[in-house]
């Protein structure tokens, strides 16, 4: 048959097929997703067994969705459960997940390594000897729960609520544990935020109230990234795939990173600035836009709080927009390309090139910073603030291709019980010195306890490893070993960690396929939720065999965390007399604990718009739908919510202040979405803020005091930081002018794409790819030091030193050194994780501590034959031990960059050695505390903290008053 005849035959067949209403061509977009099993076949999916090759042996799988528990992205996973052996054979992507869209990074599939880890903790353990001695006995969950409940109840009854603290690393379900703590009536939430993202949050929050950015990468024309978002960003996989989509459509990518990363290699423009100079570059770009009139004047006029700025800072000038523009030009005129070049070491012409590119982006400018420069430097919060200023200038805020406030692209469904705000303030997490911190000053805890500011009776570390992750780890060890400071330390963890060795109880928590959490993240312009779930519980329910307690199906006695908290809460108040039990009680069967099926059923049926109808269309219930498919997209392309008019019904008895902020007495709408939002203050008459008058129309605006984007922060000005009331450049503590002769900045914050903090140390596929962290050293510095790749160097910080191998590379600026996160893991005995944790000796002599390797990692026999194939011995250096705490006085962020001296290693130095004097670290803590501006002295309204700012667990409003807190503290001491 000729090709013409064949063509006619296909045409006729197509016409006939489509006339029946059926699809003829599957469509070329299938190229990617065709690899995924169609969801209608997830109950019985057949694949060939790769291990049986060349024999063609079929294996039958049930495919059950969950979400990854490694980084915060919460990407979708599909567990392939072998229907014969009922074992999970692999994890792949879940194509139904709107954020990750079926794709995963290496850490997702490596969940299999984590759940089959031969060294994992499978039973509750209680210490048998002294803390840190390494002797354990297995105990029952009942024994643990009864002990904890009694101790916590006693603290609550005796008015020692501030002695209970929960310290979280990897977040679980949005708001779940905060609600548990609120039910207990304690201000006991502590997080890792101040060693992670406080500065970025502060920079964003002072602009738009909301503390996270949500770039619409996929639709951007210009993408400006501070650091390595393509390979290790906060929402790495979902963001990376959208950045690449934009690149394929022609978007230009600009990256600022002192270090060469995979992201810089994909950039159209890569600038490698001196660490801490990023804000100077960003302000030079802003200045270019301002001086050349390349900004979006209409957006600035409508949405910046320029009138408030003029009133505060230029009261003698008529507050017109023209006068503001003039003031703006004058204010930023000195931020020239030449100035930025002098600060950053980047050529002025290169900065000018990217300024022109930014100017060309219009409203399609997507920008992002999270940790990196913000987390490294004193004043790092100004990096995020200056970066977002570019969006604010271009009007690229909540536009297609622009950057959104994250809360608009996130959905936290309202649960069945919501306890009230606790009526206490915990000064160990929220000390007076840091009223603007974002958020808890967690990394100062050992120093605050050392100063006698309190004690902890029950301290939970939950999937968190502060001994390793936080700076100044020896001070953490000293604190944890002192039972007068920490009465009981409970480590909730799926893996052994340096912190767990100093616990009284080590309680096994689940990995991605062994626990519940609802998640929603700002991966793109849309709102979605995903369900992390215990795979075998979901499978048993699918097979008609419901499970009441997840421990029935998890390995060993590994527990589902939400059930643990519900059960513990119940036992604290078994009769309900403390008013606590009601928040974990079943509504369907009063007098019994709230089961997770009821908990999630309520949420999915009542708080997720559209899900019940979607489930009904699929012939199932909302809970079954989520258990079966794992994710649901509530809304795509959210749009500019700040531009939405406020309906007249919400404007009853409304009043408008002189800057257009509108307040109302109409009650707020009860939203099913309880995503955390700032709470701007009511007016003097108690009316709540509802919108802002823009050109005669009341629009929803932003959740800031002014309702607009706050170029001028009355909060900063009012709380003692008037010099930072508008975006500025703060010279870092590692600025060249602040370094002594011979000192260099050390960048220690960068992550590797295949590891997740400290929980992947026994993930063999990941370990084989990355297991050590040499010191990046430029060839010119290496020549000066007479060091070659592989030579040992000694890196001296202000409290001690570390010994590490050098890696000579052009991938770092001259005069700067770098050493990655994740590595240098250790254990105190040969028990515990053995793939990437060496055994060490810890020695203490007065205030001097040191750590030295006694046994490196080596192959070993286990149920997994791969453990016989461990070929590496060098697992790097635990550099954070040698870093003092360096709290930023505004954001509270630990400023990670270190001023160090690098020399060739001395005789006797060995790879991984650490030596520190913690007396010196306490002195440096005090030096940095001198920079703070305490609430007691600077608060404009006698409160501890601006009430409107976000706080993970917000106490009742009257507890914010300084006098009340002082009274409560005095009462507790009595």
């Amino acid at each position: 048959m000729s090709v013409q005849e064949l063509g006619r035959r296909v045409s006729a067949a197509r016409a006939e097929t489509e006339a029946r209403g059926e699809t003829f061509y599957p469509g070329t977009s299938r190229i990617h997703l065709a690899a995924f099993p169609p969801k209608e076949r997830w109950d019985d999916w057949v694949e060939l067994d790769s291990r049986a090759w060349p024999e063609r042996r079929e294996r039958r799988y049930a495919l059950v969705p969950t979400t990854c528990f490694n980084c915060e992205s919460a990407c979708g996973l599909l567990a392939y459960v072998d229907k014969d052996s009922l074992q999970i054979r692999k994890f792949e992507g879940n194509p139904e997940h709107p954020g990750s869209r079926g794709r995963n990074c290496a850490k997702g599939p490596a969940t299999l390594n984590q759940i089959t880890d031969p060294d994992r903790i499978l039973h509750p353990l209680k210490r048998a000897g002294a803390r840190g001695e390494g002797r354990w006995v297995q105990v029952t969950w009942d024994e643990v729960l009864d002990h904890l409940a009694a101790r916590i109840r006693r603290a609550i009854v005796e008015g020692r609520r501030n002695e209970i603290m929960y310290h979280v690393g990897r977040p679980g379900e949005d708001g779940f544990t905060e609600r548990i703590l609120a039910a207990w009536g304690i201000d006991g939430h502590n997080s890792h935020t101040n060693i992670c993202s406080s500065s970025a949050r502060a920079g964003y929050a002072f602009w738009m109230g909301i503390d996270r950015p949500s770039p619409d990468y996929a639709n951007a024309d210009v993408i400006l990234l501070i650091s390595a978002h393509l390979e290790s960003g906060h929402y790495f996989n979902p963001h990376a795939q959208r950045i690449m989509e934009a690149k394929q459509k022609g978007a230009k990518v600009i990256v600022l990173d002192t270090r060469m990363s995979n992201t810089t290699t994909h950039a159209d423009h890569w600038l490698a600035p001196y660490p801490g100079s990023e804000a100077a570059i960003l302000l030079a770009i802003a200045n270019h836009l301002i001086q050349h009139g390349r900004y979006n004047r209409e957006f600035v006029r409508r949405w910046w709080n320029w009138a408030e700025y003029m009133s505060a800072e230029h009261p003698d000038v008529l507050a017109t927009f023209a006068n503001f523009e003039h003031a703006l030009k004058e204010t930023y005129r000195d931020y020239t390309f030449e100035y930025a070049a002098a600060e950053s070491g980047v050529e002025a012409s290169a900065i000018e090139d990217i300024a022109r590119l930014v100017a060309s982006a219009g409203t399609r400018l997507a920008t992002h910073t999270w940790r990196s420069a913000g987390s490294g430097n004193l004043g790092g919060w100004e990096v995020a603030r200056c970066l977002f200023m570019l969006n604010a200038l271009m009007g690229a805020v909540a536009t297609e291709g622009g950057t959104y406030p994250n809360a608009w692209n996130k959905f936290v469904p309202r649960p069945i019980h919501v306890p009230p705000h606790p009526r206490t303030w915990n000064e160990l997490s929220w000390p007076d010195e840091y009223p603007l911190a974002m958020f808890e000053m967690s990394f100062l805890l050992p120093h605050l306890l050392k100063e006698g500011r309190g004690r902890l009776d029950v301290y939970f570390t939950r999937v968190y490893n502060p001994v390793w992750t936080n700076p100044d780890g020896f001070s953490w060890i000293e604190m944890l070993k002192d039972e007068s400071l920490v009465g009981l330390h409970v480590a909730l963890t799926p893996t052994w960690s340096e912190t767990a060795y100093f616990a009284d109880y080590v309680l096994p928590m689940g990995h991605a396929s062994e626990r519940h959490d609802i998640h929603s993240y700002e991966t793109h312009t849309g709102q979605w939720i995903a369900l992390r779930q215990p795979i075998f519980r979901a499978l048993r329910e699918r097979l008609g065999d419901p499970v009441g307690d997840t421990r029935e199906v998890n390995p060993g006695e590994v527990w589902e965390e939400n059930e643990f908290w519900i059960e513990l809460t119940w036992r604290i108040d078994p009769t309900g007399e403390l008013g606590i039990r009601q928040y974990v009680e079943s509504v369907e069967i009063p007098g019994t604990t709230l089961g997770l099926d009821e908990y999630y059923r309520y949420i999915f049926e009542n708080s997720v718009p559209g899900l019940p109808a979607r489930a009904a269309a699929a012939g199932t219930t909302p809970l079954e739908f989520m258990r079966r498919f794992g994710a649901y997209e509530i809304r795509a392309c959210v749009g500019a919510l700040h531009e939405e008019p406020v309906p007249a019904s919400e404007l009853a008895d409304s009043m408008e202040n002189r800057f257009g902020r509108v307040h109302t007495t109409a009650p707020a709408r009860l939203s099913p979405n309880i995503v955390p939002l700032p709470t701007p203050a009511p007016d003097e008459a108690g009316r709540r803020p509802v919108g802002v008058n823009v050109d005669g129309q009341v629009l929803r605006g932003f959740p800031t005091p002014s309702g607009r984007l706050e170029f001028y922060s009355s909060t900063l000005a009012g709380w003692g930081w008037r010099e930072h009331a508008i975006p500025t450049y703060v010279k870092s503590h590692v600025h060249p002018a602040r370094l002594a002769d011979g000192e260099m900045p050390l960048i220690s914050t960068f992550r590797l794409p295949v590891h997740i903090h400290t929980r992947s140390a026994n993930a063999k596929w990941l370990d084989e790819i990355a297991h050590t962290n040499p010191l990046w050293l430029h060839p010119s510095d290496a020549a000066r030091l007479r060091v070659q790749t592989g030579d040992l160097v000694r890196v001296t910080t202000r409290i001690g030193h570390l010994v590490v191998k050098a890696w000579v590379t052009e991938g770092i600026r001259p005069g700067v050194v770098a050493c990655s996160h994740h590595m240098g893991r250790w254990k105190l005995s040969d028990d515990g994780q053995r793939q990437m944790m060496r055994t060490v000796a810890l020695r203490q002599s007065g205030t001097e501590w040191d750590l030295a390797t006694t046994r490196s990692v080596a192959p070993f026999e286990s149920a997994d034959p791969d453990t016989r194939r461990i070929w590496w011995t060098d697992v790097g250096v635990h550099q954070n031990l040698a870093f003092p705490v360096q709290p930023d006085p505004v954001s509270g962020m630990h400023c990670w960059h270190q001023a160090v001296r690098v020399i060739k290693a001395e005789v006797g130095d060995r790879q991984g050695d650490i030596a520190v004097d913690i007396a010196r670290s306490h002195e440096i803590f005090k030096e940095w505390m001198q920079l703070a501006r305490p609430a007691a002295r600077y608060s404009p309204d006698r409160t501890r903290r601006p009430y409107w700012l976000l706080r993970p667990l917000k106490p009742a409003r009257d507890v914010y008053r300084l006098s009340l807190v002082e009274t409560a503290t005095a009462g507790a001491i009595r």
Binding site: M1, V3, G7, S11, I31, A35, K249
Partner: protein, 282 residues
């Protein structure tokens, strides 16, 4: 012809119930997942960039040129704009739009610049039904030439592609990369080709990518491996020349590259044999 192109495009994607029906409609054997994987994943990846880039890699400048064509038409390029199924689908779309100039440009720039050689390679090695699919597709495309006319200039991809580097004057590793870069060598060497070479020359075939395998063959017995490569290049030169009437300057380009490869490899083989002889004598 539009529908035929779309149907043939769909067959370059992983087999499903849809593609099985299309194969039946075209009188082809049913495509199996195994045949598809061996053909398009292991032997001849269906991306234009792999055959047109100066480094033989998927993506890069060649892919961006295809994406640029979409953008020039005011369309958003798909995620993999140079995938064979995508370019054929795009071309079918142009046929429907009746934009003759754009269609002519696309045909010569993004289809006939690489597909004659590619489809020949598929016909040589693939499992059924893909050899017959390749024959049908080539015939269909050559029909388009009859309708739209010959190439006016050499496609942009094929201008300024660097020559094979002489390893005697440069890094010897570069010759392996260049030989596996069709746009430079004029030769398409698949994994099956290298396995065949190892078998013929009685050498071991290393596990690894094609670069590892080819380098290993050269390390084990350089004269024999070079002679085999020269033979392959001669065969490819003849294949390209057979398209001269249909594709004019494009065929000329590919044939000249294969011819230059023959000349260089012959010289190298001679030098190596002399060096071996000299070594044996000393």
């Amino acid at each position: 012809m539009t529908e035929l192109l779309r149907a043939l495009a769909a067959l370059a994607e992983p087999p499903t119930d849809h593609t099985v029906r299309l194969a039946v409609l075209l009188g082809l054997e049913t495509p199996t997942p195994a045949a598809y994987t061996d053909t398009f994943v292991f032997q001849q990846v269906p991306y234009a960039s792999a055959y047109l880039n100066a480094d033989g890699m998927i993506g890069g400048e060649a892919r961006d040129r295809v994406a640029g064509f979409w953008r020039a038409l005011g369309l958003t390029p798909p995620p993999e704009p140079d995938h064979l199924a995508t370019v054929l689908g795009a071309y079918a779309g142009l046929c429907e739009l009746g934009v003759t100039r754009a269609r002519h440009a696309f045909l010569w720039e993004h289809l006939l610049s690489w597909l004659p050689a590619y489809l020949h390679a598929v016909r040589r090695h693939a499992a059924m039904p893909f050899p017959e699919w390749a024959r049908l597709l080539l015939e269909t495309l050559l029909n388009e030439v009859d309708e739209l006319g010959p190439a006016v200039v050499l496609p942009l991809h094929l201008r300024n592609v660097p020559d094979l580097a002489d390893p005697r004057c440069s890094d010897s590793r570069q010759i392996v990369d260049a030989l596996l870069t069709p746009a430079r060598s004029g030769v398409i060497l698949s994994r099956a080709d290298l396995a065949r070479a190892a078998h013929m020359l009685d050498l071991s075939l290393r596990a690894g990518d094609r670069r590892v395998q080819l380098r290993s063959l050269l390390e084990q017995d350089a004269p024999a491996a070079l002679a085999w490569i020269a033979g392959e290049a001669r065969a490819w030169q003849a294949i390209h020349e057979s398209f001269a009437e249909a594709t004019g300057p494009v065929a000329g380009y590919w044939a000249s590259r294969a011819s230059a490869t023959v000349a260089l490899i012959d010289t190298l083989e001679r030098d190596v044999r002399e060096a071996v002889r000299a070594g044996a004598a000393s």
